[in-house]
């Protein structure tokens, strides 16, 4: 098969390429003096806006109790089967509480469905994106790691309410 010769209709200026290089470099120069977006992570931390979906956490009321009533809806809706809830009985008014609440962070896909389904506004997406584990077991977060004081979650809760 004969090799077809590609024909390009370039002018001399285009062929010598120098004007293009000048154009490109001038863009670079312009940007050198603009404010920077890059962050020096981890020395500098990115604080996401309220709409950000970081790892799901459990809301802890000011009296130290969890809001969760262990209804299991989040576990049911979770498409990745990341959540395990074991309910237990308590003397408190709501009768039911999570004896065990575990999220497997290796399974979680940060979809936020758990937050959306929760009837008690008890599980919300936090701003925490720093997740690193050295074993499978470490990736399973229990109540100790999940419970987060409601104060720290205020802007997310407000964000959720404004979109209801």
């Amino acid at each position: 098969m004969a090799v077809k010769k590609r024909y390009k209709d370039l002018t001399l200026l285009q062929r010598i390429y120098i004007p293009e290089i000048v154009k490109g470099l001038s863009l670079t120069m312009k940007n050198m003096f603009k404010p920077k977006f890059t962050m020096r992570y981890p020395e500098e931390k990115f604080i996401p806006p309220a709409s950000y979906r970081g790892r799901p956490v459990l809301v802890q009321e000011t009296n130290g109790e969890e809001r969760c009533v262990a209804c299991g809806l989040c576990a049911r809706v979770c498409p990745a089967l990341a959540i395990e809830v074991q309910a237990g009985e308590t003397e408190r008014e709501k009768e039911r509480y999570p004896e065990k609440f575990e999220i497997n962070m290796l399974r979680c896909i940060f979809c936020g469905l758990c937050e959306e389904v929760c009837p008690e506004e008890a599980i919300v997406m936090s701003k925490d994106y720093e997740l690193a584990f050295s074993s499978r077991g470490d990736a399973i977060y229990g109540k100790d790691k999940l419970l987060t004081p409601v104060i720290q979650l205020q802007d997310r809760i407000e964000f959720l309410r404004s979109y209801k």
């Binding site: 209804c71 299991g72 089967l81 009985e89």
Partner: protein, 563 residues
């Protein structure tokens, strides 16, 4: 047969039947809360309102007798708007408790709120508040807020359990359920009210908050609590049985089961004292070993020259399946030519009643006897075997799945006289701890098989819990979503699997070690041989037994009617 038209479909009915019953017999469900096939009609929930042509007003299908030529509409505009109105009315004071309510997922009110309700509440006033968390009896918790006053529980106690214990008090939106003064809801059938309560007002205290219904799998099987053999479902999550509910079988238990069966027949499955793998006595104590070693040891001991074959006796079990007992009898006859074979009868006159419970507290005594657990002509019966041990004439004993020492503690000393005791046991009970060799038997929740109830009805048990050799998917147990998608790294999927096998399997393996091959691969193979060789079961197979059992020729029908 007379006919009426329901939603354009012609329906045959028996004279005197109500519209709702006739519809049900034809496979059509008219929505209802308070109506129950086995209870009297009370007609108070009003959800079953239907339109009947030529009648001035809507009528309730549960209390209207069908008549020839009637034209009924259950989904006409009028009927639907009435149903919506009734639903709205019922939901006015119903709390938003679904997240904390055990009934969620199997709640009639929840289902109907989806299918027959408009989905909006116009009620802005405060809902009524009644007592929550009231223990009505040892096993039942009552929540006044959730009750929709259908009176099913009251009628159940009056009509089925025959112990009126519950009643309504107060009126209007303050009406609630209480027990009569000085009474408790503690009749032997009390927990059936949990099943028939259409909402979560009555809940099972034993199961309370243990699991969500959608996280469990349910398998059909048979209660092992007495010779009735109530049809049940075993609810399992993470390979652990969490509750039992009855399953309808009009020939055996109708819709019900007793509290003993519901509470006491599954906890041993996950008890701490389960026999997990074979044990052999070495230097005085029972030690875990491998199957091969345990079977080789058992074979060696059974064939030892310390005793001849007339000095060996076999005790079958009314707790084991037909298959287990059949192979046991065959093993005794074919390998040892032994005629000393029988089983212990367990009966408790205080347990029996004229509702469901039977004096015979074993599930399969009729079947055990029928497949050959009875002494041969010159052989010893149970008492004969025990006397034989006392007199030193019986030196070796092989016991199949029966804790005879707990049933009769005097036997502890007698069994101590034995030279060799081999036991198939599910748990380290008082008999198993005396044994020289303990072979781990699968519980009824871990095997396939059949049992025969007091009526002579052959019923199937099916596995619901997996063991080392029984796989949930491969052995066609029902699977929950968690069972299907769980991996070995999920903590919610690491339920313990015991190393236990069906007794017939253990016996077939032991028989092979002793040089007598038995060709059974499945429980079904054993049953097919039983149906070929035992007259009472001829012509039966697992398919014909089905989900509801089948009558064998073991008991004449008249006798059943009387019983």
């Amino acid at each position: 047969m007379p006919k009426f038209v329901l939603d354009g479909k012609e329906i045959e009915f028996k004279q005197g039947q109500t519209i709702i019953q006739a519809a049900k017999d034809n496979g059509i469900t008219i929505p209802h809360f308070c109506w129950h096939e086995s209870l009297s009609v009370s007609g108070n929930c009003r959800v079953c309102l239907v339109e009947v042509e030529k009648m001035p007003k809507l009528v309730i299908a549960c209390a209207t007798i069908a008549s020839d030529g009637m034209v009924v509409h259950s989904a006409s505009e009028k009927a639907l708007s009435a149903r919506n109105a009734v639903m709205e009315f019922l939901l006015i004071n119903h709390p938003l408790d679904c997240p904390i309510c055990d009934e969620a997922g199997e709640c009639k009110l929840q289902d109907y709120a989806y299918s027959h309700s408009v989905g909006e509440s116009r009620f802005v006033e405060e809902k009524t508040h009644k007592d929550k968390r009231v223990p009505l009896g040892p096993y039942i918790m009552f929540d006044g807020d959730r009750c929709i006053s259908c009176s099913r529980c009251i009628r159940f106690c009056d009509e089925i359990a025959k112990e009126p214990e519950l009643t309504f008090v107060k009126r209007g939106d303050r009406v609630t359920i209480v027990t009569f003064p000085g009474e408790e809801l503690d009749n032997p059938y009390s927990m059936n009210v949990v099943d028939i309560c259409p909402v979560g007002a009555l809940t099972n205290r034993d199961f309370r908050f243990k699991a969500r219904v959608w996280d469990m799998s349910a398998n059909n099987t048979i209660c092992q609590g007495c010779a009735r053999g109530c049809n049940i479902e075993l609810w399992v999550r993470n390979n652990e049985v969490l509750r039992i509910t009855p399953r309808q079988n009009d020939r055996v238990n109708s819709f019900w089961m007793c509290d003993h069966g519901r509470l006491e027949t599954f906890k041993f499955i996950n008890a701490k004292d389960r026999v997990d793998g074979p044990y052999v006595r070495r230097e005085g104590s029972l030690q875990k070993t491998s199957w091969d070693e345990a079977l080789a040891d058992a074979a060696k001991e059974l064939k030892s020259s310390r005793f001849n074959r007339n000095e060996i006796a076999f005790i079958g079990s009314p707790y084991a399946t037909l298959e287990d007992n059949y192979v046991f009898a065959k093993f005794a006859a074919a390998v040892f030519g032994s005629k000393n074979i029988d089983f212990m009868r367990h009966s408790d006159p205080s347990f029996g009643d004229d509702i469901l419970r039977r004096e015979d507290i074993t599930p399969n005594s009729l079947g055990a006897e029928a497949v050959g657990i009875r002494p041969g002509q010159t052989g010893l019966n149970f008492d004969g075997i025990i006397n034989g041990i006392k007199e030193g004439k019986i030196k070796a004993l092989y016991i199949l799945e029966d804790d005879i020492v707990s049933a009769d503690t005097a036997l502890e000393e007698v069994l101590a006289k034995l030279d060799l005791l081999i036991v198939h046991a599910t748990n380290f009970n008082k008999t198993a701890v005396l044994a020289d060799i303990v072979l781990p038997a699968a519980t009824y929740a871990e095997k396939n098989g059949t049992i025969v109830n007091f009526q002579g009805r052959v019923q199937r048990i099916k596995p619901a819990v997996s063991t080392v050799e029984l796989d949930r998917a491969m052995d066609s147990m029902s699977m929950s979503r968690l069972d299907k998608f769980g991996s070995i790294y999920d903590r919610w999927n690491q339920g313990h699997k015991y190393d236990a096998r069906s007794s017939w399997k253990i016996l077939a393996a032991l028989s092979s070690v002793l040089g007598n091959k038995m060709k059974f691969n499945l429980a079904e193979d054993v049953f097919n041989e039983i149906s070929r060789s035992v007259q009472a079961f001829s012509g039966l197979d697992y398919d014909s037994i089905g989900e509801h059992g089948v009558q064998s020729k073991l008991q004449p029908l008249e006798k059943i009617e009387k019983a």
